[in-house]
Symmetry: C2
Subunit: 456 residues, 2 copies
């Protein structure tokens, strides 16, 4: 196998070796030869130390482009691993909202050290943004926007734009904001309207008056709904006094929405913090998963206490032990279905914490049908398998009842978590399985104890 | 309680009543008074028949704005429920990519009927789009864009834009495309560069040459990576011959990405198709969940067969039955963690189906630590609880081994599913639990059978 073939087959090994050998040119060539998505994949396969070495070797501009192509969690960990100076140079190449996002994910002290070596003007901008919650308009906005006083004429604005063409080209803004004397927003002009304007027209006459604006503390959910409703590329962000302080862009809101949905998926599956990547050190990964599994173990043992309380029943009727894990697994599945639908509906704004009774009613109708069907199924299986009709009745009835309980509890848990201010994705699962296991085992074993005297 | 209070507390009941009474004015007032997010919430609480009645009553323009604020699944179901003529009128108000998305989710015949009553020019556009897969550049693109020949002068373009200002205002496009005589794309002009141009300049000199373009069949994952890499608002979409056929916008790509992540979450949790909403009829919801639960039941019973094969061991050592559900639940949890991380990494492009060995290695190191810890824990609990050291060894060893198996199997399953062309989110869960249950029960019961002769 010649070198060319080897490179084609395993680009990350090539990259890994070039980095280890501190061969800047080979690294640059290797990254150029890989497509953008291959780059992401190759970098994900490197250890975190290698990733840090890589970004220490690259030009800040090139490094920043790569960082933007990586998942945010990975970018944050890379900045965490490189030197403060390197991190500052990389960050300086990014838009201010991304700077704030990444610094937000670092320990406070390190973020302060990096800010101290960043360009003072940029550092001051980011410090402003860091005051706002990550998933709010203030945390998502960029500070680069174009604003002119209301009485400026179209040709004056165009002349100014031409004079500062460089800055204008760099600014990723589709609108020109019109401000009154106090810096308050009075209108928004689209680039296209400026294109079509007469030279002497004051820009305020081109502007859409009373534009849709958001407050710095407007949460992500509300921003998503606004962008769903309006076709705008960005919305002006206003402070308490109604002064324009930034622009929140559609792309940043949609990206933040997807990040959150992705984190929900991982949290629901029991990844603490919702952001594991396999390039993280194994200790970090083991801790994220282990802490969760340990809690589950103790919750599972609580449910096992229910079985232990019926050991005499179980000794007398060992066949029941075959069906207890089935009962536990089916109930968990039915409950998790309901949890996932509630999580999704909460995210989409279709459901609110107060809608408990609505969810219970909806879950009851859906689950009753499945409960009767599946309870009947397993009842018949148990009867036929062990030749004991009473075993079938006990197992089937416990299954049917518990499936209904699981669906209702699962549907309501995320609402309750949200209402308590907890993360609905993280805690719902283990609480659900503890409840459904305890209920299920109790139902099956108590019914069995009642039925035992009649077993031939 | 007066009427005002009642409205403040339950807007959907108000809306429901107004629709039932066919009171158009009251409905319009009610929607106006609710904010945008309250509208989404109120509509989600209506039955599907009421939703259909509502959209039958609204002006198409107003209805279309509402439709865009709703989740796509819900919008599609609403169009499915209203008359074909109403659906056509509503669809005509939407951009062509959304028309195609919604028609894609309907039965083929109904889509054809609706297309037949739509405006012929729009219907032709949508038929074009429907030829492409939903999550490809062709399926996501819009057909409304601005293009001019290479030798047009800046002032000619501006004059044309002014003449067609209405159309230009409606077009949601940030770039002007420059075509050669064959309709092939030779460059892209940004609005801002046109603003800054001299009157006589041919637009080709303003254009970025060799612009980034995508092929109609470029998949969503690739589009996401391109938009991560480049700051553009849209990318030109080219057909096989390199001719410009549409524009795919950042916002549509990011929205499609979030829809897919959301569907993954629901699929992983066992919602068939990944798109249940509680406003759907209970039969549809019961079928989605029930089909999944039925498959799980039979898989669970397969695992139960393993227990059944060891009934004699279990009779001799009933305490084991307490720990079997714990073993089953813990293994499932550990496996689902690994599944979720693999799903996420697959989506982000950090992982490919060929990376099986990489995943196994990473899962081994992480899980070994947790396995020893948790296996040790439950072993000690079993020993102390029942006063039998051998029970502790059996339960602890089975738990530790099975946690490692679960993490490796869970990590690899989504890769295998993707490689087989299956949806990795849907099938991975039940296959995992079947494997981990069979392995776990076998390990625990076989170890117990070996240990039984030594139990005092």
């Amino acid at each position: 196998m010649n070198e060319k073939e080897q490179r084609l087959r395993r680009p990350w090994q090539e990259l890994d070796r070039d980095i280890a050998q501190q061969d800047r040119e080979a690294v640059a060539r290797c990254l150029r030869e890989l497509g953008s998505d291959q780059c992401t994949h190759a970098i994900a396969r490197l250890s975190e130390e290698r990733q840090a070495e890589l970004f220490g070797m690259l030009e800040p501009g090139q490094g920043a482009v790569l960082l933007q192509a990586l998942p945010e969690t990975q970018s944050a960990r890379i900045l965490h691993s490189v030197s403060d100076a390197t991190a500052a140079r990389l960050l300086e190449q990014l838009p201010s909202d991304q700077q704030a996002d990444l610094l937000n994910q670092m320990p406070r002290r390190q973020a302060d050290r990096i800010l101290a070596v960043m360009r003072p003007d940029q550092a001051a901008e980011v410090r402003q943004l860091l005051r706002y919650a990550r998933d709010s308009a203030g945390g998502l906005m960029i500070r680069q926007y174009l604003a002119y006083p209301a009485d400026a004429e179209a040709q004056q604005v165009l002349a100014d734009l031409r004079m500062h063409a460089d800055r204008f080209r760099k600014y990723d803004v589709q609108y020109i904001y019109v401000l009154d004397g106090d810096g308050k927003l009075v209108g928004v002009v689209r680039q296209r309207d400026l294109l079509l304007a007469d030279a002497k027209q004051p820009i305020v006459t081109l502007a859409v008056p009373n534009p849709v604006g958001v407050h710095v503390h407007t949460p992500l959910e509300e921003l998503e709904r606004l962008f769903d409703l309006y076709p705008y590329y960005g919305l002006p962000v206003l402070d308490e006094a109604g002064r324009l302080v930034g622009v929140v862009r559609r792309q940043d809101v949609e990206k933040a929405g997807e990040e959150r949905t992705g984190r929900s998926l991982l949290k629901l599956a029991g990844i603490v913090g919702g952001d594991e990547l396999r390039s993280m050190p194994w200790r970090v990964r083991a801790a994220k998963r282990g802490s969760w599994l340990t809690i589950n173990l103790f919750l599972d043992l609580m449910a096992a206490l229910v079985i232990a309380a019926y050991e005499d029943t179980l000794s007398a009727w060992v066949a029941l032990a075959i069906f207890l894990p089935v009962l536990s697994d089916m109930s968990a599945n039915a409950g998790v279905q309901a949890i996932a639908v509630s999580l999704r509906e909460l995210t989409l704004g279709l459901l609110r914490p107060a809608d408990v009774w609505h969810v219970v009613r909806k879950e009851l109708t859906t689950s009753l049908f499945n409960a009767l069907l599946l309870g009947g199924c397993i009842g018949l299986v148990a009867w036929w398998w062990k030749g004991m009709p009473l075993l079938g009745v006990v197992v089937g009835a416990a299954m049917a009842l518990n499936l209904v309980i699981a669906a209702c509890v699962g549907g309501v848990l995320p609402l309750l978590m949200r209402w308590l201010g907890q993360d609905p994705a993280m805690a719902s699962g283990p609480i659900l399985t503890t409840i459904t296991d305890c209920c299920g085992f109790f139902l099956a074993l108590q019914l069995a104890r009642l039925a035992l005297p009649y077993v031939g």
